[in-house]
């Protein structure tokens, strides 16, 4: 990481702390925003958050490593989370899974080389009556078939 990148990240985190406060309870909202902007929470970002919240860096690490939606390593610009729970599984998750893998040329839990896409599984999305379902960044898509799933990916690009 270059020095000016580090400085700008520090500034960014300072602004977030001004907004959410120095309480420990602000930690999760702050991390969620960093994740959203940078697609992961780097070691340096974790240290900065810890320094500014006045807690040990390992505390921040422990939280980042706990939650499924927070990452310690760079993810793609867009994250696709396919529901793998039984209702979606029975509704045809398998075909969507294969179509996404073929289209992006990666397996699940991998990121494309151009860092545009990451494929992940997720537990129940709460769309069981309209499966199969997937989450693309913040948007939920339901009643998928392989063709529409790929179409959604292409439209998001």
């Amino acid at each position: 990481m270059l020095v000016y990148e580090k400085n700008s990240l520090s500034d960014e985190i300072e602004v977030l702390i001004e907004k959410f406060g120095k309480e420990r309870s602000a930690l999760l909202p702050i991390l969620q925003i960093i994740e959203k902007r940078h697609n992961y929470i780097s070691e340096f970002a974790q240290q900065e958050v810890a320094r500014l919240l006045d807690i040990h860096p390992v505390e921040v690490y422990s939280v980042v490593s706990f939650y499924n939606f927070l990452h310690r390593y760079p993810q793609g610009k867009n994250i696709v989370r396919l529901c793998k729970t039984i209702s979606c599984d029975m509704a045809g998750k398998r075909e969507i899974e294969e179509a996404l893998k073929r289209e992006l040329g990666i397996n699940f839990d991998e990121t494309t080389r151009d860092k545009k896409w990451t494929l992940e599984y997720t537990s129940c999305l709460g769309m069981c009556d309209q499966g199969p379902a997937m989450l693309v960044n913040d948007k939920v898509y339901t009643k998928l078939d392989p063709e529409t799933a790929v179409q959604i990916i292409n439209d998001t690009k």
Partner: protein
């Protein structure tokens, strides 16, 4: 297609019946705290999240507690596989839910309410924030609500980050405080030592929505629905092999046979009641009732027809628990891995019955020794599927089990 928020016409006796936004707050401020607690107790409403703790008891404990601050938390971390009733309530009936929170806040003496929304439901965040703004404009939130001197209350929304275990109330509080979502030892319960150490009521979305109805229409009316011990109605999230999946409001006491007819399911072999942590009920027991005293559920109903392999279903559930166990206590962290391994061995035909019996013993150990509801209930599908579908799993060649 993209999931959009559109209000569909729904019919139901209690929650889906007509309601004027804000009316329960108005009524609550008229009748006063004592009468609200009385009505809630009389209604015998129990928590709708699955555990079924009497709501009135929770409220009374916090109302009676002496503390500088108190909190009301609405648990919208709806993660149980097969449950989506909170999605419907929050997107189509936010008035019921938020009014219920204000009533709860008034009754227990809290000034702050927090809605803990699961990260997966971020798509509804904007709409909910907008709704809260409109409540503030109508003085249903803010200072001196509806002219009631000294009653200040506001609601904020916090997002989860994809952890099923945060639906457990103490894990949820840990998460709100900025920690890993690991359940705490209980006691002390959140009613004593909750968010930030202050007395806290944690209620399910559906419970709070029901409160709005109890306040406006009275406990006696509420009790006309349901059974003696399970009063009112329940939202059931129905998915799986049926023609009409979706959310249905039915009175407690509805039998599984009745439910199958309503949702138009054919050739049904099994019904998983209560989500992954619930039990799997075979066809021979479809006369059982959905109620706290019989087949209890937080609302998840998953239907499997004759073509489904129950071992595959079980594997999916155990896979889920291995992933979602927080890893804090040993019975759950290791037990679930062992149970998944057992399912995989059965799949390959590499098992002995003494091995399976020892895994059933392990299941019972997990039920008593795990720290929270996740580990205590994760062996439920393992035990119920292996027991109720043993013919299919152990005696059928079709299942891919090779008998050497």
């Amino acid at each position: 297609m993209e999931a959009k928020i559109n209000k569909t016409h729904r019919e139901g006796a209690v929650l889906f019946s007509p309601y004027d936004a804000g009316s329960s707050i108005k009524k609550a401020l008229e009748v006063g705290r004592e009468n609200i607690l009385f009505e809630v107790r009389e209604s015998k409403i129990k928590g709708r999240g699955g555990a079924g703790f009497p709501t009135a008891t929770k409220w009374m404990l916090v109302a009676a507690a002496k503390a500088d601050k108190k909190y009301i938390v609405c648990n919208a971390d709806e993660g149980e596989p097969g449950t989506f009733k909170d999605r419907v309530l929050l997107t189509e009936y936010p008035d019921l839910v938020f009014d219920g929170m204000v009533v709860a806040g008034y009754t227990i003496g809290a000034e702050i309410g927090i809605l803990y929304l699961r990260g997966e439901y971020i798509f509804m965040l904007e709409q909910l924030e907008d709704y809260l703004i409109s409540m503030r404009q109508n003085n249903l939130l803010g200072k001196n609500i509806l002219g009631k001197e000294g009653f200040n209350f506001d609601i904020s929304i916090r997002l989860g980050s994809g952890a099923y275990v945060c639906g457990e109330e103490t894990a949820l509080i840990e998460s709100l405080e900025g920690h890993r979502g690991e359940p705490r030892n209980r006691p002390p319960y959140p009613v004593n030592t909750g968010y930030m150490g202050y007395p806290t009521v944690v209620n399910n979305v559906e419970t709070l929505a029901s409160i709005s109805k109890i306040i406006t229409k009275g406990a006696d009316w509420f009790k006309t629905h349901g059974t003696e011990k399970s009063t009112g109605s329940k939202l059931f999230s129905v998915s799986g092999d049926c023609k009409k999946p979706g959310v249905y409001e039915l009175p407690w006491g509805t039998t599984l046979n009745e439910l199958i007819k309503i949702v138009d399911a054919e050739n049904t072999k099994a019904i998983q009641v209560g989500g992954a942590s619930g039990v799997c009920i075979p066809k021979s027991q479809f006369d059982r009732q959905l109620s706290y005293e019989d087949a209890s559920t937080g609302g998840s109903i998953m239907i499997f027809n004759e073509s489904r392999k129950m071992l595959h279903v079980l594997k999916n559930f155990m896979d889920f628990f291995v992933e979602e166990s927080c890893g804090q206590c040993t019975p759950c962290r290791i037990g679930n891995v062992k149970l998944l391994e057992c399912v995989e061995r059965i799949e390959k035909g590499e098992y002995t019955f003494s091995y399976i019996n020892s895994m059933k013993d392990l299941s019972r150990t997990m039920q008593v020794a795990s720290k929270c509801g996740l580990g205590q209930s994760s062996p439920n599908p393992f035990l119920s599927i292996l027991e109720n579908f043993k013919d299919e799993i152990f005696r059928s060649k079709e299942n891919g089990v090779s008998h050497a």
